[in-house]
């Protein structure tokens, strides 16, 4: 069974705030749910499935289902870090295709924390004693992937910097973006080196925010007054250390990408706009290679000279400013990747960054760490 054409993204909402005080986490989830339902023209009574990750308070989805006043017949609390919401959209489409729900709500919300801090995955994780003594944090784990990519393929800091520069060109048009200043390659490579070879500006922003997405069956989508955005392909794949055969030069996108492209029946050259998870500049470079937008090892060259800038380059990416400059709610950038791809397909991105004739778009998430274990997820959507 394929999800191709079986489900539509009918509602999207990105919380406008980037620093939030005096609001509970549950309220943030409710605010983004309300925003996405209003965008779709639906109410909580229409929702019969709820998807959330570990950023939602409580036991799986059940506390939030209660708080939101939902009555659902399906719920899923898959947690793959920042890519969770791309998994959720795919799983929602599968559930709809199986006839187990009609309207699925996906929420993400959280308060940001610094990537220089250690993450606690619990005492029982089997690798714990063999990793925590060495001081792994989000930043230095991604930095090791960057260092190896540079060693093996000759990728440079200046090439990585182009990812941030391109995102900043888009963010200047987004009034809600945390960083709206247009940056240069020099700005990025002259920012402090915080985990060699990554500089402060190779990192995404840290924000308090959230977002939500509504996925619905075709009959529901066609009854609403919004442009039709159809899911045509989805792929997911975790990648780890492979029992010690560690290879930091590629991501799970080498598997999630082909699965999604095959299902959608399209090629990388058919993609008019791509939301690429941008926790760090290296994440984008490696993902573009692994999804087949360029050859392996040539991601650095591919992103140079504004090739990711809308209206300038071949592959417009993250036209909201991405995690690099706009928003990375609660350290999870997946939901905003879906949202901006849907805006592009609807023609609702900012006019300065809107891709002309944007009929097919891709959104990709990378949750966890490129340096140890991560979950990759790819969605391909089409304007109908």
């Amino acid at each position: 069974m394929s999800i191709r054409g079986k489900a539509y993204v009918v509602g999207i909402y990105e919380h406008p705030a980037r620093k939030i005080e005096n609001k509970s986490l549950a309220r943030l989830h409710a605010e983004v749910a309300k925003g996405a339902l209003e965008d779709a023209g639906l109410t909580t009574r229409d929702v019969d499935a709820y998807f959330c990750s570990s950023d939602a308070p409580g036991l799986g989805g059940i506390n939030m289902i209660d708080y939101l006043g939902l009555t659902v017949r399906h719920s899923d609390s898959t947690n793959t870090g920042g890519s969770s919401y791309l998994y959720h959209v795919a799983h929602a489409a599968e559930t709809i295709a199986a006839g187990k729900c009609n309207v699925a709500l996906v929420t993400c919300a959280g308060f940001g924390r610094r990537g220089t801090l250690a993450r606690d995955h619990g005492a029982d994780v089997p690798e714990g004693a063999f990793e925590t003594p060495y001081g792994p944090v989000t930043l230095n784990l991604y930095a090791m992937a960057a260092m190896r990519h540079m060693y093996q393929y000759g990728t440079t800091s200046e090439q990585l910097a182009w990812v941030k520069v391109a995102a900043s060109h888009h963010a200047q048009h987004n009034p809600n973006a945390l960083l709206k200043k247009v940056l240069t390659v020099e700005d990025v490579v002259n920012s402090p080196l915080i985990a060699d070879p990554l500089h402060r500006m190779d990192c995404c922003v840290v924000t308090d925010s959230g977002g939500a997405v509504i996925v619905a069956k075709p009959e529901v989508a066609k009854s609403l007054k919004r442009p039709l955005v159809k899911l045509i392909g989805a792929g997911e794949s975790p990648k780890g250390q492979m029992g010690g055969k560690v290879d930091l030069t590629y991501t799970g996108a080498v598997r999630s990408g082909p699965i999604a492209f095959d299902e959608a029946g399209v090629k990388p050259s058919d993609i008019k706009y791509a939301s690429i998870y941008d926790s760090f500049t290296i994440t984008v470079v490696m993902t573009l290679e692994d999804l087949g937008f360029c050859r392996k090892g040539e991601g650095g060259k591919f992103v140079m000279d504004g090739n990711l800038i809308s209206g300038v380059g071949k592959l417009p990416f993250n036209t909201d400013g991405g995690g690099m400059c706009n928003n990375h709610p609660g350290n999870r950038g997946g939901i905003t990747k879906i949202i901006e791809a849907v805006r592009q397909l609807r023609g609702e991105s900012h006019p300065k960054v809107q891709v002309r004739n944007c009929d097919i778009a891709l959104a990709h998430g990378t949750g966890g760490s490129l340096g140890t274990r991560h979950g990759s997820a790819t969605l391909i959507m089409e304007r109908e």
């Binding site: 005492a123 003594p133 001081g135 930043l139 060693y151």
Partner: protein, 133 residues
């Protein structure tokens, strides 16, 4: 530029059931690696069941203690002192997360030959690390 190695406070790791022999050997100055007696492959981090063939006939072997830096990063904003996290590919063929110590951290390079050394963590636990060979 130089970033001299400085000793760092390492919190005692939480050991899961089955992890103790590795750290007992480290306290004796030995680096252990898990080996599978069915598929004859080493793996790391250590498991009770081989991640390649799922055999439970795994056993600890003493590693030579020599290897090559696969990748590394100097953390300059994650603690009171800079430190070098790395993956070292052991001569037995598996790569392990570690720290590179006892050198100018700015001189570390991918492909560099390194040799095992041992540093104390809190609670009397001893942690294998690597220094330039």
């Amino acid at each position: 530029m130089a970033t001299p190695y400085q000793e760092r406070t390492i919190p005692a790791p939480h050991l899961n059931e089955g992890d103790a022999p590795y750290f007992e050997a480290a306290a004796q100055g030995k680096l252990l690696v898990k080996f599978c007696n069915d598929c004859k492959q080493y793996h790391h981090y250590p498991r009770a069941l081989c991640p390649f063939c799922f055999s439970d006939r795994t056993e600890w072997k003493e590693a030579k203690g020599t290897g090559t830096v696969y990748s590394y990063s100097i953390s300059r904003a994650s603690g009171p002192v800079p430190y070098a996290i790395a993956y070292v590919t052991l001569d037995e063929g598996v790569s392990m997360m570690t720290n590179i110590v006892d050198c100018d951290l700015d001189t570390i390079r991918c492909g560099q030959k390194v040799t095992v050394t041992f540093k104390p963590a809190e609670g009397g636990v001893v942690i294998p690390m690597f220094k330039p060979a």
